[in-house]
């Protein structure tokens, strides 16, 4: 597709999506918010993990930082300032984690992110119990469901735009080389640590903002809600199912899995985690390249045969 056409198609899609709150009922809007939320998270996840192949299990750590910052600051200042502060906190944590673990082999990074959400949850809980003595906060801000939806849509557009720009830049090329072979990347003079940390921080920024935007959905937030590890897990499988080597890949995982999880949670609330785990293993074993990769391989096979 020509760039102009692609841009026009994207603009039409966004305009169509922006109109959703005008004619959707409450349930449809809430489903649309969930879809948009996971679209932002999965796209942000694959911004970093797609090209570099570093598996991050820390999505909810940043999402929770955003949500919890809003819970603490709600009513104290105007909404844009709250978002900025949330962004700054998320960015700072991402830089500390990235600088200390991304210089090393990928497995250290995975392990550290694996426990990061739990660590932050425990520290926040400790702080709330011992210092502020209020475990659990109410979020009263003047933001309704449609506002949340539009903000998430804005974030999704930004995430896609960032993805497109990075892919065309030197940074994007550097990341793809790192993903193919990190030793080679170092030998041809790429500053691998800088590239990885920069992308990780960018991806974490989107996750943090997403959490901040979603916070008013709950009205009541405590650390266990904000730092729920299942979110990291779901984002990971959505991105993997869709396929992470294309920017639009995660979308193909988000839509079917959000609908599937809605259904499972409604029908089998007690066995949810078993079913999600099984779905995840099925994806890892059966379609490791994701739906997009699978479709591309079939298309290529047909062309090769003809």
């Amino acid at each position: 597709m020509k760039p102009v056409l692609a841009l026009a198609a994207a603009a039409i899609a966004v305009a169509f999506l922006a109109a959703v709150p005008l004619y959707a009922d409450a349930y449809q809007l809430s489903l649309a918010i969930t879809l948009m939320n996971y679209t932002v998270l999965a796209t942000a996840w694959s911004l970093f993990s797609g090209p570099t192949r570093y598996v991050s299990l820390a999505t909810v750590a940043f999402f929770g930082i955003g949500a919890y910052t809003v819970a603490v600051l709600a009513e104290r200042m105007a909404w844009p300032y709250i978002l900025l502060i949330a962004l700054a906190v998320g960015l700072a944590v991402a830089l500390v984690v990235g600088l200390s673990t991304l210089r090393l082999s990928g497995v250290y990074f995975v392990i550290f992110t694996f426990g990061l959400a739990e660590l932050i949850r425990q520290i926040v809980t400790w702080y709330e119990v011992n210092v502020t003595r209020t475990l659990g906060r109410y979020v009263f801000v003047d933001i309704d469901a449609a506002d949340i939806y539009w903000q998430l849509l804005g974030l999704a557009v930004l995430a896609f735009a960032a993805g497109v720009l990075i892919r065309r830049s030197r940074l994007g090329l550097a990341l793809r080389v790192i993903g193919d072979d990190e030793t080679v990347a170092r030998h041809i003079g790429i500053n691998t640590t800088f590239a990885k940390v920069a992308l990780f921080a960018l991806s974490a920024s989107f996750m943090t903002l997403c959490g901040a935007v979603m916070a008013p959905r709950w009205t009541y937030i405590d650390p266990a809600i904000a730092f729920n590890p299942v979110v990291s897990f779901q984002v990971l499988i959505m991105a993997l199912l869709g396929g992470v080597h294309r920017l639009y890949g995660p979308l193909f995982g988000v839509v079917p899995l959000v609908l599937l999880f809605e259904f499972l949670l409604a029908r089998f609330p007690n066995h949810f985690s078993i079913l999600v785990g099984l779905a995840f293993m099925l994806i890892v074993y059966a379609i490791p390249q994701g739906i997009v990769g699978f479709a591309e391989r079939i298309a290529r096979g047909k062309r090769g045969a003809a």
Partner: protein, 290 residues
């Protein structure tokens, strides 16, 4: 107070060392980064709990039932679920990523099964819970027993790996899986064996821990995390490093819980991990940096 803290720190550290030895065998030899490691431990703890409360089976007898079962289950997991990943992975890094993803899925499946069976409540049972006086400090008898068993199992493993042919083969695969076949070692079978041994060790840790700690279906992740930290701290594949690092972690946690705040033990664990990563990423006793 100090002696008591040291005693309970050593007990806890012994447990960490035991489950970390299991993980280091799985990661160092079979190259599987097993994120479901702690879940198997909690499953073993629930098995011991169930045997003790419903069939009045002494946990030490339970050890004889649970550990072989865990060995068999782990062996089957490796053969059925992980061998396909080993076969399709083009190199070691790809296998690491695949194994992390697959065992991450297993984590949620095992955890979900335990939640469905036992719910989210905390469990414990009372076994040999009388105090024993050591050097002025009182320690529960079950803790001492657990430490003794952990030491015996760890020593047994060490002797097995260093004094037998099979153990030597395991170490050879850990050093160089590509050269091991040249001296007629079956790498797949040895890796499966090491993985199964890892499962048996963590199950033993689970049974021993169930004698003195309360546990629930969600807590396995925390133990996996601590085992990973101990493995990295001690140097991947290094059993002695595991022992020392495990004891250090147990002591630090107990000291923080005793004198600072019990809510900050995990933060202290992470602080140690960060310092190790920054200063000595190859581990306290590691030599080759990866």
């Amino acid at each position: 107070m100090f002696v008591a803290a040291v005693a309970s720190g050593l007990v806890l550290g012994g447990m960490y060392a035991l489950i970390a030895m299991g993980l280091t065998l799985q990661y160092g030899v079979a190259r599987i980064m097993n994120l479901a490691h702690g879940e198997l431990m909690i499953a073993a703890a629930f098995a011991a709990f169930w045997l003790f409360t419903s069939a009045a089976v002494n946990p030490l007898v339970g050890l004889l039932l649970v550990v072989p079962a865990a060995f068999a289950v782990s062996w089957a997991i490796y053969r059925l679920l992980l061998t396909p990943l080993v076969a399709r992975a083009p190199n070691r890094d790809a296998l690491e990523v695949d194994s992390i993803l697959a065992t991450f899925g297993m984590l949620f499946v095992i955890q979900g099964v335990m939640l469905a069976m036992f719910g989210g409540a905390y469990y414990s049972y009372s076994f040999l819970a009388f105090p024993v006086n050591i050097a002025g400090a009182t320690v529960a008898a079950n803790r001492l027993l657990a430490l003794g068993f952990a030491a015996a199992i760890g020593l047994g493993l060490y002797l097995y790996l260093t004094r037998t042919r099979l153990g030597t083969a395991v170490r050879a695969v850990a050093v160089d899986p590509n050269s091991a076949p040249l001296v007629a070692i079956d790498v797949r079978a040895t890796a499966a064996l090491a993985f199964a041994f890892g499962g048996a060790l963590v199950a033993a840790g689970g049974v021993l821990i169930s004698m003195f700690l309360t546990f629930n279906a969600n807590i396995g992740v925390v133990f996996t995390m601590k085992a990973l930290i101990v493995v990295i701290m001690g140097g991947v594949g290094n059993l002695l490093g595991c022992l020392v690092a495990g004891l250090i972690l147990g002591l630090v946690e107990t000291f923080v819980a005793t004198w600072i705040d019990p809510g900050l033990t995990l933060a202290a664990t992470y602080a140690i991990f960060l310092v190790i990563l920054l200063v000595r990423p190859q581990g306290l006793f590691g030599t080759a940096s990866r």
